[in-house]
Symmetry: C2
Subunit: 302 residues, 2 copies
């Protein structure tokens, strides 16, 4: 018994198109409708054909749905909620895939009063964006965090969880506020730092852009991957999870200042102690299947 | 005509053992001798057999060499120079693979007066260390920066360049001071930042270690790879390239503070502008063959 029979996906970028591919692969009888605000993306989605029908308006995409998943930048959730409100079937469940949850819950509660909203966040992605970037296995063995608001119907939560498990994800439920703190350190701060250092490297006068690129295998290139992520999505994440991001950034800056001081004063022991401690974290991530254990991410050296 | 006939490798970790494997693969007639300060590493090197002979002292490893490559942490270069000085053949060339060059040139000039020293830095590596981590193709299509000191004999420089090209590397010569500045931004600062954020994440009270690991696919896991690099090597790099690292760190901190301010004041345009600019850097790195263009570093999603 499938959790949903008619799924509507609003936003057909990397995550929206990946959900569509994954539904096709794991629940082929589900009817899939999609919409994207960009006419070019709608045209491309029709060509690729990962949903049965691409609607020209968000309202038309949801009229028949029992699950609507909003896959748009978190700053656009409220507007999309308002745009589908009138056409949403009474028993439909609305979910989303936003990287911050507190602000999304607030925006959807305001624009979709009385609707059952069960937010979720699949912690998965690549640096690519758009309808061509999606693939069916993106969520396999990745975590999806479901953050039910207070008083959410248990049956609805269970159906959303079932849905994500069928796409291959491991599911955890979490308080939205705690989610925003956890993701601030495991996702938002890493992106902010990566964007910053790539910007710093681009702006140097003494070191040319060409040198930065040529010698990037010394470590820098790792940062450029996540600094190539979708700019709109990430702008919205930082603005919507401001409190938690600033808190984590403050802690990071303090720790960086301590290391700076250790370098300035030649305190090799402080450096060595930290560098030894951080190795263990990597080991745990590989042991728990959250990264590829092959050296250098398994990059080809041929 | 091979550039060298008898190569001695002091330090049999990731880089030393990779050089040995690569010499075997590309110049099989070269006689290879090795030494490591750690008896356990010497024993393991004998078992693997990537050099013809493992000597028990650095002096014994160099008596017959026409090229000696020091593959030890940069803080140990001076001591190793002193340890081989008496046994070094008069016409031998000494090179190294250290990640900072100014301090190495100084240390070797002091302990090996009158010796032809041609420092080099292959910008290649993985997060793994030790004699089992090496492989023959590590240097393929990676850059090796040769930093000849003032007055270095041109013929000696040419032989070292020829050697690295045969191992598969692209070679560039550079002023040592400029090398240290370039690598401070493309390698040293990225490592420092990665070590810092992994430390920050490990020390939180509100977010557990287990949560950090579970949700690391949001971006954090990328940083844990380089934060798993060899602690001794990296301690020495930061202490030996102090000036350039502190300079780059200062610029990074200023840029991070500007972003922090943009987040606090909700300046979405400033964030969007930076995030758009950084995408181009990634594209150049891939176009120039310095990273794998497959999404998510080509990680498996099966």
């Amino acid at each position: 018994m499938l959790p949903f029979a008619r799924v509507s996906i609003i936003g057909l970028g990397l995550i929206g198109s990946s959900i569509a591919h994954a539904v096709r692969a794991t629940m082929p009888t589900v009817a899939l409708t999609g919409h994207d605000a960009d006419p070019g993306v709608r045209a491309r989605a029709r060509e690729i054909g990962f949903v049965d029908d691409v609607a020209d308006t968000p309202g038309a995409a949801v009229t028949d749905a029992d699950l609507v998943i909003l896959c748009v930048p978190v700053g656009a959730m409220g507007d999309v909620g308002a745009a589908i409100a009138a056409d949403l079937p009474a028993d439909a469940i609305v979910s989303d895939v936003g990287s911050s949850k507190g602000s999304v819950i607030e925006a959807l509660a305001a624009t979709l009063p009385g609707v059952t909203v069960i937010p979720a966040h699949p912690v998965a992605g690549t640096e690519n964006s758009g309808p061509d970037a999606g693939f069916a296995t993106l969520f396999r063995h990745r975590w999806c965090i479901v953050t039910p608001p207070d008083g959410a119907p248990e049956a609805a939560v269970a159906r959303v969880i079932d849905f994500w498990r069928r796409l291959g994800a491991e599911v955890e439920t979490m308080d939205p506020k705690h989610h925003d703190l956890v993701l601030a350190i495991t996702s938002h701060l890493p992106h902010l730092i990566a964007y910053t250092i790539v910007g710093t490297a681009s702006d140097l006068e003494e070191v040319t852009r060409s040198e930065v690129i040529k010698y990037s295998a010394g470590g820098f290139r790792d940062f450029t991957r996540i600094a190539a992520s979708d700019p709109t999505m990430w702008r919205d994440v930082f603005l919507s999870n401001k409190g938690a991001v600033l808190e984590m950034l403050q802690r990071f800056s303090e720790d960086l200042t301590a290391l700076q001081r250790a370098i300035r004063w030649g305190d090799g022991d402080a450096l060595f102690d930290l560098f030894t401690r951080t190795r263990a974290v990597r080991r745990s991530i590989i042991e728990q299947g959250q990264d590829d254990g092959r050296p250098d991410f398994g990059r080809s050296h041929e």
